[in-house]
């Protein structure tokens, strides 16, 4: 099994010289990606730790402040992001079956869902900013909107909740934007026919990255919106 016919048939263009076989190269890339995902998890873990520490210290403040976050928008974004994960998984599925059309359509759908996510996020952020709900020392809620009297939320440590909210969703949103760029790049390559059932490593790896971004949101949604 180890000595593949591919290797003896000469190096395919995408096989680098220091690898023995395509399989070794694919396995290595994939393991590298999983390791990278682990670093992403640990990056976010710092924010989850900060969240947990402050939530345990000030549970009422967190519960009260979370009322300002609209669970409907958060829920919509959850569904949108889950759908994009689904289309990415389908994309990999089609790449494995040499179905270029299926791959491209699903990658485009993924970008569409990601765009919806970002647009919703944009309206959430600007809605907060309009009422003075900023991260950090600029936190000065005022005005009335969405059934909330914002001044009621100007309590000690509410600023911490919103700081954590903005930092977590902000860094998560940054990851979504990066993912959109990667998918755009994948689409151009897919259209040029770079991917086949024997070589679709970039699709697979970007897909793994995207699923991780989805998983982070799966935890962010109940922790921030549904307290």
């Amino acid at each position: 099994m180890a000595s593949t016919s591919v290797a003896s048939a000469g190096h395919p263009g995408h096989l680098q010289h220091h690898f023995v076989s395509e399989e070794q190269q694919f396995d290595a890339s994939k393991m590298g990606m999983w390791l990278f995902l682990v670093t992403e998890i640990l990056l976010f873990s710092g924010m989850f730790v900060a969240y947990t520490v402050f939530r345990i210290w000030y549970p009422e403040v967190f519960a009260h402040s979370a009322e300002l976050l609209d669970w409907r928008l958060g829920g919509l974004n959850t569904v949108v992001l889950l759908a994009s994960s689904f289309t990415v998984a389908l994309g990999v599925h089609y790449a494995q079956l040499d179905n270029k059309k299926g791959l491209v359509i699903n990658l485009i759908l993924t970008i569409v869902f990601a765009t919806i996510f970002i647009v919703v996020k944009y309206f959430e952020y600007t809605g907060k900013f309009a009422h003075g709900v900023f991260p950090g020392i600029n936190f000065q809620p005022h005005g009335v909107g969405g059934g909330h009297i914002y001044a009621e939320y100007d309590i000690p440590f509410a600023a911490q909740f919103f700081s954590i909210y903005f930092v977590m969703t902000g860094i998560h949103g940054l990851h979504v934007l990066v993912g959109m760029g990667l998918f755009a790049w994948l689409i151009t390559r897919a259209l040029r026919g770079h991917f086949t059932s024997s070589y679709y490593t970039p699709v697979e790896l970007t897909g793994l990255y995207w699923h991780l971004v989805d998983i982070i949101w799966i935890f962010l949604f109940p922790l921030l919106y549904l307290i």
């Binding site: 290595a28 390791l35 998890i41 640990l42 990056l43 730790v49 991260p135 020392i137 440590f157």
Partner: protein, 568 residues
Amino acid sequence: MTEMTPSVSGNSGTVNYLNHDKSIKSWLLTRDHKRIGIMYLVAISLAFLAGGIMAMLIRLELLSPGETIMGPDAYNQAFTIHGVLMIFAFIIPALPAILGNFVIPMQLGAKDVAFPRINLLSFYLYLGGAVITLSALLVGRIDGGWTFYAPYSVQVGDSILFVTMGVFVMGFSSILTGLNFIVTIHKMRAPGLTWNRLPLFVWSIYATAIVQVLATPVIAITVILLFLERLLGIGIFDPALGGDPVLFQHFFWFYSHPAVYVMILPAFGIISDLIGAFSRHRIVGYRFVALSSIAIAFLGFLVWGHHMFVSGQSALASTVFSLITYLIGIPTGVKIINWISTMYRGSVQLRTPMIYALIFLFTFSIGGFTGIMLGVLAVDVHLHDTYFIVAHFHYTMLGGNVIAALGGLHFWWPKMTGKMFNETLGRIAAGLIFIGFNLTFFPQFIAGSRGMPRRYFDYPSEFVGLNVLSTYGSWIMAAGFFLIAGYLLFSLFKGKKAPANPWGALTLEWTHTASIPEPHNFTVTPVVTRGAYDYHLVPEFYAGPSSGDGSSAGLATQEVAPETTHEK
């Protein structure tokens, strides 16, 4: 069944990784792990030089109480720059990035690391990070120490943004290096090179890489939060806004304690290789030494709070962290016993690299025992943040990592450059460093336990004697380092040509590559049939008349049925 004769000759006339393309561009854009290792060697040596100059200035200032050569502002900057450069730009990357890069693929029988382009990227990230860090000098005073404790780091000047940004970027370099090694060690081993046959340097770099990948992202998020604390006042760490400064210390040490294992674990590996090669003896308790590196790497994540016994953290946390600290001390101690036992009934040869291994046993043992003292809850209350800590840290880091790095550099120098250094000067320099090091740092233990706090520009007169000794020691040590730099550079031009295997070691980089190795390391992928230290299995290798000091002629490894090693 084929007979495979390793490449044995020197390098004259043949194509090697240094001469196959001499253009500047071929260096700057190289993906060859060996060239990247050499570029790291140059860059990191410069960082060490800069950090070392700062250290000398610090020692000079402390020669007498009050202002000796600089005021408190300059002094505080000097120790901050010393700490930041030495920790983030020197000691964390030093062993994995220089020796790991150069040696590991060859010890694995691989042509390169798994991701050569990422390897080059990580070099430039390192360079960029170091430049960003140093650019802080142009912005303003660099202050706060290498620990950046909040809220002081929230209040000092903006130059700290550049310092921490540099640390952030160098962190990515470290992550990518670690990621590369894990994949390389898993997927790129030569046929027959099972986990039980790996050189212990490979094991230790593997454990190191795990720590790099798992711990470094946390310093990244810590730096991001510190940034936002300064820019937006998010109130996570800043007590003036309701944040918790002790939480910052948790974040910081969650990275920085495992980071000391990034510094010391590769040193363990080098010491194992050196003691094995120069005792010509299988490392006693090979499996224990190998697996304990992994255990130490994991346990290293569970002890960060022993830096915080007097910080105001809960006593429960202090107790738990103290308890686990001992658990990590035990495998380390057993390793030392294993190294000593390896010399028992061995054939010990005192060449320069081996002398460094022996110095390591001396200095690192002191570092380890004082570490146990610092792990004792009640004793640490007295010793915390005094010069005792400074001395302990330098005994483990300089006396551990740097001594091992010097041993490794001398050991692999012939392989890197194809030249032998002057053995006599090598021994003299080792002696200077041993004496200078102990004279510099041993008095600091006493100064510390008698009450002298760290990071002090000025100190009471009762500590004068100890500080004077320490400063004199630093001059002797510096002389040693300059001597090493001198004869190593000299050997490049005038050194004797190195044979392929000057030490008679049995790992693949010695038995199967030339000194200097060819661009892709191996003409034929080697097939491994024995462990890295199974000297007793190949007595015929040493039977030749001149075998000990050089040519490995006569060595032939029989090829058994090739095994596929990389996992599915």
